[in-house]
């Protein structure tokens, strides 16, 4: 693997090097010593969101190492300034102010939940700091202003795409829905329900559960009575795993469609045989013949001890995109980086190719669906009808 080009002084140039170093010393006294490009990084390292935060952190660090190993950007190294925000809004405001005021950061990747991204966005916007929200799904984040970017499909768009997939691709019409009660779960489900009519879907019954629930006996019994064609559930892998196994254990055999955050190998581990045949929306093709992707998989697994999930992949891509933006702007000036990012075209992410951003800096990208077969994620189609799940414009 072409990992590193180590910069070593050529012995033959020793003489001139002495000269150069003398010169450089002179320069160094006038300029701040070899300044790395700092990228602020907010992640939930403690608290209930730490599961995702840990993955995001590992992926973020890997991205920076890969960038630096390839020579950095504009001849400089990238340095990650990481703060724990516990995925809480007040902590996000503290750390945002800290990044701006004490660390002098101009470019930020928010690898945290909506509560954080939403609170931090206006702070960064006001300070003219570019922020890429890796996986915060709340619409407010990009509405804060033109310095904000989002690298994940909005909840309602994911929901609309799900309706398209269930109604058209799978041809299933009678659906029971199970919503996780948080902003992500609710927004995604709302998008589904809104779009469901368009594809002839009738929602038989709607259920919801809290993030802390792991036992779904009542919902399972009710879904059984509903006798639907399929079940659509929003949630995380740690709620989805128990939910799917309990649905299957009760003898419900209809297809189950899970939302994006089901996307983790832990889901398969938890649900075991019950995971077979479960569809996962807005997932990504893990077997794609792409060297970066395969390198990412092996390296992440080595560091984390578990396979990377969607959150890790997105965060990695977010840091890479920021570096790419700096390169294209040929500057670290936030206004220039912002313009460069806004002009992004066909950027290779781990999940596939990012078409670009719309006027609100929401990402435009097809949505991939996975299905679990023999305990592995297998591609089950790509939704390319971008107009069916177009994000809102400015």
């Amino acid at each position: 693997m072409l990992k590193q080009t180590i910069k070593m002084p050529n012995p033959r140039r020793k003489l001139s090097l002495g000269f150069a170093s003398a010169l450089m010393l002179g320069v160094a006294t006038m300029m701040p010593a070899h300044a790395d490009i700092k990228i602020g990084f907010q992640v939930p390292l403690t608290g209930p969101a730490a599961t995702d935060g840990k993955s995001a952190q590992i992926a973020g660090v890997m991205a920076v190492e890969d960038i630096n190993a390839a020579g950095g950007v504009l001849g400089q190294k990238i340095e990650l300034v990481t703060y724990d925000d516990q995925a809480k809004s007040d902590q996000a405001i503290f750390t945002a102010n800290k990044l701006i005021g004490e660390d002098g950061v101009k470019l930020v990747v928010n690898g945290s939940y909506s509560a954080s991204g939403r609170a931090a966005a206006p702070v960064f916007q006001k300070a003219g700091v570019v922020m890429i929200s890796a996986y915060g799904v709340h619409p407010d984040i990009t509405k804060a202003g033109d310095y904000m970017f989002r690298l994940v499909h909005l909840g309602p768009q994911q929901g609309a795409a799900t309706a398209l997939y269930i109604g058209k691709n799978l041809g299933l019409k009678k659906i029971s829905t199970i919503t996780m009660d948080n902003d992500y779960g609710q927004a995604t489900m709302n998008g589904f329900i809104e779009a469901s009519g368009k594809y002839g879907i009738t929602v038989v019954n709607k259920y919801s559960y809290s993030l802390k629930d792991r036992q779904f006996g009542s919902i399972v019994a009710s879904v059984k009575r509903d006798n639907p064609d399929a079940v659509y559930a929003t949630g995380y892998f740690f709620t989805g795993g128990p939910l799917v196994s309990q649905l299957r254990a009760a003898g419900i055999t209809v297809p189950i469609i899970g939302s994006q955050a089901f996307d983790s190998e832990k889901f398969i581990e938890i649900a075991g045989p019950a995971a077979e045949g479960v569809y996962i929306m807005d997932s990504f093709d893990r077997d794609r013949k792409d060297e970066t992707l395969q390198h990412f998989f092996t390296e992440f697994k080595k560091r984390a001890g578990y396979a990377p999930e969607g959150v890790a992949a997105i965060t990695y891509s977010a840091v890479k995109l920021m570096a790419d933006g700096i390169k294209r702007a040929n500057s670290t000036d936030p206004a220039k980086v912002r313009d460069a990012l806004a002009a992004t075209k066909n950027f290779p992410m781990l999940e596939g190719t990012l078409n670009g951003f719309n006027s609100l800096h929401e990402m435009i990208m097809p949505i991939s669906v996975n299905v679990i077969k023999d305990g592995k994620f297998k591609p089950a189609g790509v939704l390319t009808d971008l107009s069916a799940f177009a994000p809102p414009e400015k």
Binding site: R214, Q215, G217, S218, A221, N227, P228, A271
Partner: protein
């Protein structure tokens, strides 16, 4: 589609459905009972709201999974948890509560919450954010069909475990010398002491028994979810509080009744009022309604 169209179920479908919900509720209730009796015991004796009981429960769940995975036997996992957790429970008493007994009850309670936060994060650091699962857990996916109602093996195990455990506890406190002494100490400490019962030993016994019950509940929850994550005990920490208050603080019988009632209320409530309130809020709504009617809980055995 069969005769029972999803939109208009037959009367028979309805009966099965409500029975299904009842089974769900009862198994929740049994689980809650095993989680909360430990709290009741501690409260009855020391008047401390032992929030860190949730950490004991979590430890029980982790030990069950770890040992089961290491040995290949789920039974051994449960046994190991039932040995480790009482030691932990007694240590909590010795190190944390004993020196704080002379202060207002909210002082040990805050310490207890501190310990829970500490332990939760310790579990996260040691065993990872992602949580752990059983390598082999055929149990969770085995189901039985009883008159059209699907009952899972874990549900049956929970109900049986609760029945066995509470029968044993009942026999222990009514038929054995230690047990009778224990009960006496809880209700009349001075008199019991004058009969030569060591109140300190009773306290340790209290923590040990409560912790064993929490460990069993922890193991069963791990079975049912096939997942133990650091936050698994959090729900226990506050729901068990609601239960023991519903049960009339300090009354084991009241706790058992309250657990079953709450299990059932949640099982039906999740479906019928879930659109207005989430499950946790349902538990507390029941609690507040009951307390307004009966300020001393279901049994009202002791006045506050």
């Amino acid at each position: 589609m069969g005769g029972g169209n999803g939109a208009s179920p037959t009367a028979e479908d309805d009966a099965v459905y409500y029975f299904d919900l009842a089974v769900t509720g009862i198994s929740f209730g049994c689980m809650y009972a095993m989680m909360s009796v430990g709290l009741t015991l501690v409260y009855g004796l020391l008047r401390i709201l032992h929030v860190a009981h949730a950490a004991v429960f979590t430890l029980g769940a982790y030990v069950t999974v770890l040992v089961a995975n290491a040995t290949g036997s789920i039974l051994l996992g449960f046994l190991a948890a039932m040995i480790v957790t009482p030691l932990f429970g007694m240590a909590i008493y010795r190190v944390m509560y004993e020196p704080l007994l002379k202060y207002r009850p909210d002082v040990p309670m805050i310490a207890s919450i501190g310990l829970l936060i500490f332990m939760q994060d310790a579990f996260r650091i040691v065993f990872g954010e992602q949580g752990i699962t059983f390598h082999r857990n055929a149990f969770a996916f085995t189901t039985f069909n009883v008159f059209g109602v699907t009952v899972s093996a874990v549900q049956i195990a929970t109900i049986i475990a609760a029945a066995v455990v509470f029968t044993a506890l009942h026999l222990f406190t009514t038929r054995t010398r230690i047990g009778i002494g224990w009960r006496a100490t809880v209700s009349k400490p001075q008199i019991a002491a004058s009969f030569g019962i060591d109140p300190i030993k009773v306290r340790y016994l209290n923590f040990a028994v409560g912790s064993v019950l929490a460990a069993i509940a922890g193991g069963l929850v791990a079975e049912m979810n096939n997942l133990v994550d650091p936050g698994i005990g959090f729900v226990v920490s506050y729901k068990a509080l609601a239960i023991i208050v519903l049960g009339g603080l300090g009354s084991v019988r009241g706790t058992l009744i309250a657990s079953l009632v709450l299990g059932l209320v949640e099982a039906y409530g999740t479906i019928f009022i879930g659109a207005w309130l989430d499950r946790d809020a349902i538990a507390f709504l029941a609690l507040i309604v009951l307390l307004m009617i009966r300020p001393q809980g279901f049994t009202g055995a002791r006045t506050a």
